[in-house]
């Protein structure tokens, strides 16, 4: 278990480097991928998502919609945990582990645009002063804020854990699960 912990810490360092160095590029991809989701809500549909450094800016196409800046890097750093968890597996560079890592990474990255959309909704629901009160009811405000806080506090890491649990080899799974299921 000590070796696993050591591999986890090394993976964490690699994950931080990856997240830090690829953050701006991924934010651009994120803005592109989340753009179609904006059409789901007519209140904010008239806007363009533009990546600016570590943030994504919601640029309104109509004067009535306020602008918003979303710290997108705060929605994507769960990739660090994903890298760390797969690095902690036995034989981290084996074909099996790398394939599982690719699948898990795809799941996590595909959920990032949804996380960004939820964060945008939460920002427009609560942080735009009178505009928020005019366009969102009390229940809608509560829903979006809780959805964002849940994603940020537990959901983004829960997704990583689930993706790792589902895709990694049997070696990481508790022996009872392996024995009983066989």
């Amino acid at each position: 278990m000590l070796w696993r912990a050591l591999r986890l810490v090394i993976g964490l360092a690699i994950g931080v480097a990856l997240w830090w160095s690829c953050g701006d590029a991924w934010n651009r991809a994120l803005a592109f991928l989340a753009q179609p989701l904006m059409k789901l809500d007519a209140r904010i549909a008239q806007s363009d998502l533009v990546a600016v450094g570590h943030t994504v800016v919601v640029q309104p196409l109509v004067a009535s919609l306020p602008m918003a800046t979303i710290p997108a890097d705060q929605l994507t750093y769960n990739v660090i945990l994903l890298v760390a968890l797969f690095a902690s597996n036995r034989a981290p560079f084996s074909d099996r582990n790398m394939k599982a890592f690719a699948i898990a990474m795809a799941i996590v990255l595909l959920l990032h645009p949804i996380g960004l959309f939820v964060s945008i909704e939460s920002t427009y629901a609560m942080q735009q002063g009178a505009w928020s009160d005019q366009h969102y009811g009390e229940n809608a405000q509560r829903l979006w804020v809780n959805a964002e806080v849940f994603y940020r506090l537990i959901g983004m890491f829960g997704v990583v854990f689930a993706a790792w649990w589902m895709t990694a080899s049997d070696a990481i799974k508790p022996s009872s699960t392996r024995r009983r299921s066989s």
Partner: protein, 164 residues
């Protein structure tokens, strides 16, 4: 990647319990009587630890203040979310209930002790290396907390299964 019914069941129970344990954070009336007093106690403990290592700090509510620098401990910094994550995983796992309860309590204590170290190091980083504070506050320590939660969970599953 084929999952057994047992594994799927674990993931569903884990997801449901994560939502259930999120309620004390989300519902203000519950938050006031559970998470808020805990965070104030954690702030006092962190302040005491900082004073033990020679820092001139005072605490007030959830704020630790020392000279030109102060930190405010909020949800996300009190490790309640990492504890909720760990307890959800342990309770969702099929093991004797006594092992689950012992694992959940012991794991939560370990995580909160680690969180005390997090708060102390973040305070020191903020005071002496402000340039590193944001990265460690946002990414490094938060990930470490959840990484530690997963490690504790794996250690617990091994021991729980061996004893069972």
């Amino acid at each position: 990647m084929a999952l057994s019914r047992r594994q799927v069941g674990f993931l569903i129970r884990f997801a449901v319990l994560c939502v259930v344990f999120y309620l004390p954070i989300a519902v203000p009336a519950l938050e006031r009587v559970t998470v808020a007093p805990f965070t104030r106690a954690l702030t006092a403990a962190s302040g005491a630890t900082l004073r033990m290592i020679g820092q001139q700090v005072t605490t007030e509510g959830t704020v630790i203040r020392g000279g030109m620098f102060a930190v405010d401990i909020k949800n996300g910094c009190n490790a309640v979310e990492a504890v909720a994550f760990l307890v959800a995983a342990i309770l969702a796992f099929e093991a004797p209930i006594v092992f689950r309860i012992i694992g959940a309590i012991a794991g939560s204590i370990l995580l909160e002790l680690l969180n005390l170290i997090r708060i102390v190091t973040l305070y020191l980083l903020g005071k002496y290396h402000r340039d590193l504070f944001d990265m460690f506050h946002l990414a490094v320590w938060q990930t470490l907390m959840f990484g530690a939660a997963v490690l504790i969970f794996l250690i617990w599953t091994r021991n729980a299964v061996a004893r069972a």
